[in-house]
């Protein structure tokens, strides 16, 4: 149970501080001794608690319950003033797993042998509250042939209009402010993946915990740790974060290192660094194998491969607002370092041990953005270049390698342009990118050596304050270092799309106003190279045109991941 908490301030003597510490220390020493001298195991039972799915000892045995110390206020709690958050009727311990103590909030109630003592609660400067935020998109669509609408992109970051798929995030966030200098935030974000129950009829739901971190700010320095989507600016039309998009478990720190004061052009420089890990559940990074149990019968799992990808990032952001107005520039320098240790795994296909050498990579990128500060109008240019393992999305594993089975020689270079312009009843969103990806394989021809790019434009007309209609046109192409089967031509796959999207936007007019409730029709025209990407058993190897007629909604509000 998560409830708002109110810290208690009290006067305390040295004895008051020492006694609880002694209690805790005594308990700890006792538990430690217990853990070091377990009772003899029976022959049929493992001496240690049976490992859980990950091989870690069961929590109950490894984490003895800590003694609970309850501090009891000696004076009645004053009634909340108008506007204040009412004090909850709950134990004052921050350990929500501790049992409730009847009357714990009643003056004069003590526990155990602890002497009753007087605690005076200081006036609280704390402000805290919960927030709920969400991002989501849900569609139902037909291909006008009796099937469901289907994505048609052939590039990594094609237009989202048909391909983005259903997805939602539910964010629960705790915001605290203890003083003007000290603030905190705890964020938990659940991501929901399709299919949803009303579509599949299955009461199973793929849920991922994405954000799960705590953040604190002291003065201007912000620190965080946990699991976090740690991102820069996205290109909405492509559903893509072209410069920085970290999804790690780790931590970071950031602060404005310069901020101009006074009238005129304002400057602000922000420095952020982060380090995190990913250990994908893939034999490339992590593997557990069963071995004969050392005691008794059966098997136990041991970790054969454990090599997280460690990523360090540094980001320097410069804001410039000429004349101190709302318009300005944002410039970013960004870099990443990636490391993977060496390891050995059992090839799941052949049951043969295979070595994985250590690997590394780096990325360097930059961004320059101009924004008007009005109606989300902006233009942005991003460039980045990556080498080695950094050329690969950290949420995926490489599938091709150099001769030494590293990703040395792999590279990714990309340039992306995006923007939005809004004026009166009209807006235009646009985006384009080119990307050059080369794997490290020694072969000249490979599906992992390609150039690709996309250009997409979405003009909209606002019909009154709440309605509008958008049209979208795009072209995308991927050129692979492969021959198109049956021809002497290089395999070039291109898709042209045209779409129209009337919508209702209850939050008002604007390219980025949400929610939107939409009707959507998109036609995709697929060339022979695109069709050649699919196995002959797939109708996509035959169809030149694809339809997508659907109804859906997209929303975002109050989400820290989608500010």
């Amino acid at each position: 149970m998560l409830l708002p908490e109110t810290p208690v301030h009290r006067k305390s003597s040295l004895l008051d501080r020492v006694v609880p510490l002694l209690i805790v220390a005594t308990a700890f020493v006792t538990e430690t001794a217990f853990a070091q001298a377990p009772p003899p195991a029976s022959p049929a039972q493992p001496a240690q608690p049976a490992p859980g799915p990950t091989g870690a000892p069961a929590p109950a045995a490894a984490q003895p319950a800590a003694p609970t110390v309850v501090i009891v206020p000696a004076t009645p709690v004053p009634a909340p003033a108008p506007g204040e958050i009412p004090r909850p009727d709950a134990p004052l311990s921050s350990d929500t797993s501790a049992p409730s103590v009847p009357g714990a909030t009643t003056p004069g109630v003590a526990r155990g042998n602890e002497p009753s003592r007087v605690v005076t609660e200081a006036p609280s400067a704390h402000e805290g509250h919960f927030e709920f935020g969400s991002y989501g998109r849900v569609y139902a669509a037909s291909d006008l042939r009796g099937g469901t609408g289907r994505g048609t992109n052939v590039v990594a970051f094609g237009p989202r209009i048909v391909d983005e798929g259903n997805y939602a995030e539910l964010e629960l966030r705790r915001e605290d402010k203890w003083s003007e200098r000290v603030k905190g935030r705890v964020v938990a974000t659940l991501a929901l993946f399709p299919p949803f129950f009303h579509f599949s009829g299955k009461a199973t739901q793929a849920i991922a915990v994405r954000n799960l971190y705590a953040q604190g700010t002291y003065d201007k320095v912000t620190m965080w740790a946990g699991s976090r989507m740690y991102r820069g600016d996205d290109i909405y039309l492509l559903n893509w974060w072209p410069l920085d998009n970290q999804n790690t478990v780790g931590g970071g720190i950031g602060a404005p290192i310069y901020k101009s004061e006074g009238p005129g052009t304002s400057y602000e420089t922000v420095l952020q660094v982060h380090a995190g890990q990913q250990r994908l559940d893939n034999p490339y990074q992590f593997q557990q194998i069963p071995v004969v149990a050392p005691y008794g019968f059966g098997t136990v799992d041991v970790t054969k491969l454990d090599r997280p990808r460690t990523i360090e990032t540094v980001k320097l952001t410069q804001f410039v607002r000429p004349g101190g107005g709302s318009a300005g520039f944002k410039a970013v320098l960004y870099g990443e370092l990636h490391q993977l240790a060496a390891g050995t795994f059992v090839d799941p296909l052949t049951k043969v041990d295979r070595g994985l050498p250590e690997d590394s990579g780096w990325m360097l990128g930059s961004q320059l953005t101009y924004f008007t500060g009005k109606r989300d109008t902006y233009a942005s240019l991003v460039m980045r270049h990556a080498r080695g393992i950094a050329a690969y999305d950290p949420l995926a594993v490489p599938i091709t390698f150099a001769l030494d089975r590293t990703t040395s020689g792999a590279s990714e270079t990309q340039i992306a342009l995006s923007g939005n312009y809004e004026q009166e009843e009209f807006s235009i969103l646009y985006a384009a990118y080119v990307r050059f990806f080369r794997d490290g394989s020694p072969a000249d021809t490979s599906t992992q050596k390609y150039d690709e790019g996309t250009a997409v434009i979405r003009p909209s007309v606002f019909l009154g304050d709440y309605f509008g209609i958008s049209v979208e046109g795009s072209y995308q192409q991927r050129r692979l270092a492969m021959l198109q089967p049956g021809t002497n031509d290089q395999l070039n796959a291109g898709v042209t799309k045209f779409g129209v999207m009337p919508y209702f936007s209850p939050s008002g007019r604007g390219s980025y106003k949400r929610p939107q409730i939409r009707l959507l029709y998109v036609a995709s025209f697929r060339d022979s190279g695109t069709r050649a990407l699919y196995p002959v058993e797939d109708v996509f190897s035959q169809r030149k045109a694809e339809h997508f007629l659907g109804i859906g909604a997209e929303w975002w509000f109050n989400s820290s991941s989608y500010p």
């Binding site: 410039a331 052949t350 360097l364 001769l403 072969a443 021809t445 021959l483």
Partner: protein, 611 residues
């Protein structure tokens, strides 16, 4: 403020520099020209000038780890990881060895695995239109042939027309499942019971002259339906086109008696490899079209054709004629087609070289009668045969093999261009049978490289690999480190250089001037000598003398009978000898030479000596 503006400028400048750093990486991806359709051409002058090097691609060199799907190092019945890129990477090794033509194992997509054995060898075809991704894609195959041609190496492709991989089963019990039945109900002699074991597998049932039969508890139920298997996980799916239909197969079950011509021609090849109905015009057309296409798209120089004795003669006439007719107008002539008939019957081998058929065959009779009986058995005087067996076998060339070039073929009569080999992937390696006798190996190589015809060396011979029967004879080569300094490598390389240098060793006719039935203590035991001269070699001359005896030196004479050559009065130089010893031939042509045990001489006239 000014300072901060300057700071901002520096930041922006740094960003631009970073962006500019990325620019040199930008460049359009392309398929290299060598990977595109080549301008096909004739790369061969005279196939007798060539030395074929047989490569099992999976075992030669691993040049690209990204096609190492299901590789299990050390388990020779499974994939090991070799590929065409590995071959490309080691063409200099092949060149240094002195061989001139690569015979590569089949390139087409296979059924991946069967009964826990992999199709690393390539003989379990499933799709004749696609490359086997274990070895590379079409561009890489083209790159291999282009790189080989650039180094004056030719490429011969191994193909199979007799059968496909195990793509279907016979539903003998009509239950729609591929079953293996083991049971017993027959009489057990003397025990008064019925319990003898019967094993029936619907994957690979025994030959039945009526065609594989279905059965029920009441007896036979007619021909068993052919059911194609749908198992994409191992690429066991129906082939494309007519080869994906039941009528393209004979359906008589596994060959039990190879001497029964009907079984041999229409029976399934052991291992469940389904016999193709090659007599059907549409099947023939498909096979001709699909295989000729490989020569066209990859600029190949020839076919080595598997299991020719399991296909009717008419097919070979039509196949060979059609391939030649289709390639010649495109500029590719002298396209070598040689067949493999795993048989010691010399007449049978020769029958596939009848007019209009194949240019050559794998000289299996020689493998048995010469390399096995004489060279491999050198360690055992009771098993070793006399060299007169060589003389007799070679004399039959003009009897059993076509002595006229095939119309539109290589321009060389089959009798003069048989593909000579000591061992290959279907028999245990020479050293295995020779009990590791490397002297015997090198001696046999001398005969192989100096006799009439086209020598063919199985990969790894030069590294003295000694594996037993399949798959032990299919070792990975890369564990040898591609050593070019060992004695056998250097010997073979020297023989190849001599063969290239002296046209007499390549194109001369053969005249056996000494052979003997003696294999024991006799003075001439194990001696064979033959001249290579005349014919297409003009006046060029070479005399090869080999002592196949492992126990003592021998001489080219037996008492009063001495070797008599056709070059009296000349001085011959032993070009194989590092000291280049000379031998004066008397006016009567009689030459008595002492040859140490398991040694040989290649003698050329002093005036024809080449630097």
């Amino acid at each position: 403020m000014k300072a901060m503006q300057s700071k901002s400028s520096r930041v922006v400048m740094a960003m631009l520099v970073a962006g500019a750093c990325a620019l040199p990486e930008i460049g359009c991806v392309t398929v290299p020209n060598e990977g595109k359709q080549p301008a096909i051409a004739t790369h061969v002058d005279d196939w007798r000038d060539e030395v074929i090097y047989q490569v099992l691609v999976d075992r030669f060199a691993n040049g690209d780890p990204n096609n190492d799907y299901k590789v299990r190092p050390g388990y020779l019945a499974r994939f090991q990881g070799g590929d065409w890129q590995g071959l490309i990477d080691h063409l200099d090794y092949i060149k240094e060895l002195g061989v001139t033509t690569l015979w590569i194992s089949p390139v087409v997509k296979n059924v991946e695995t069967d009964a826990d054995v992999d199709s690393y060898h390539g003989y379990w075809a499933q799709d004749l239109t696609q490359t086997n991704p274990h070895f590379g894609d079409l561009a890489q195959l083209r790159k291999l042939t282009a790189a080989a041609h650039d180094m004056q190496l030719k490429v011969v492709l191994d193909i199979v027309t007799n059968h496909m991989g195990q793509v279907f089963y016979y539903d003998m019990n009509l239950n729609g499942n591929p079953d293996i039945y083991i049971g017993g109900s027959g009489p057990l002699q003397g025990a008064g019971s019925k319990s003898d074991i019967v094993r029936i597998t619907e994957y690979d049932p025994d030959w039945d002259p009526r065609g594989v039969q279905a059965f029920t508890s009441l007896g036979n139920a007619g021909r068993a339906p052919v059911i194609f298997i749908q198992d994409p996980s191992i690429n066991r799916v129906p082939p494309k086109g007519i080869l994906g239909t039941a009528r393209a197969y004979h359906g008589f079950g596994r060959i039990l008696n190879y001497d029964d011509e009907k079984q041999r021609l229409i029976g399934d090849f052991p291992g469940g490899l389904k016999d193709v109905a090659t007599e059907l015009p549409e099947v023939r057309a498909e096979l001709i079209d699909l295989y000729t296409r490989w020569a066209e798209v990859a600029d190949l120089d020839g076919f080595r054709i598997d299991t020719v004795k399991h296909v009717e003669y008419e097919f070979w006439t039509e196949f060979a004629t059609a391939v030649r007719a289709r390639l010649a107008p495109q500029g590719k002539s002298k396209f070598l087609m040689f067949g493999e008939a795993f048989d010691g019957n010399d007449k049978l081998l020769g029958s596939y070289t009848q007019p209009g058929m194949l240019d050559s065959v794998f000289y299996f009779s020689q493998h048995f009668q010469v390399f096995r009986d004489i060279f491999q058995n050198a360690h055992d005087e009771n098993a070793q045969k006399g060299t007169d067996q060589i003389q007799k076998l070679w004399a039959d060339r003009v009897v059993n093999y076509n002595t006229q070039p095939q119309p539109g073929g290589t321009g060389i009569a089959p009798a003069k261009s048989l593909v000579n080999f000591m061992d290959n992937h279907d028999v245990s390696r020479f050293l295995f049978e020779a009990l590791g006798d490397k002297e015997a190996l090198r001696n046999a190589l001398t005969l192989l490289m100096t006799e009439e015809g086209i020598p063919c060396v199985y990969y790894g011979t030069e590294q003295e690999l000694a594996g037993g029967n399949d798959p032990s004879n299919r070792e990975v080569l890369w564990t040898t480190g591609f050593d070019t300094t060992n004695e056998t490598f250097r010997h073979l390389s020297k023989l190849a250089r001599l063969r290239a240098k002296y046209i007499s060793l390549r194109r001369g006719d053969t005249n056996v001037v000494y052979a003997t039935p003696h294999v024991k203590a006799e003075d001439d035991a194990g001696i064979v000598a033959y001249e290579r001269a005349g014919g297409d070699a003009g006046d060029q001359y070479a005399l090869v003398v080999i002592n196949t005896n492992a126990r003592h030196q021998s001489t080219t004479a037996d008492g009063a009978k001495a070797m008599k050559i056709t070059k009296p009065g000349v001085t011959l130089v032993d070009v194989l000898d590092p000291e280049s010893k000379t031998y004066a031939v008397p006016a009567n042509g009689e030459l008595r030479i002492i040859v140490p045990a398991q040694r040989a001489m290649i003698l050329v006239p002093q005036e024809q000596l080449k630097p």
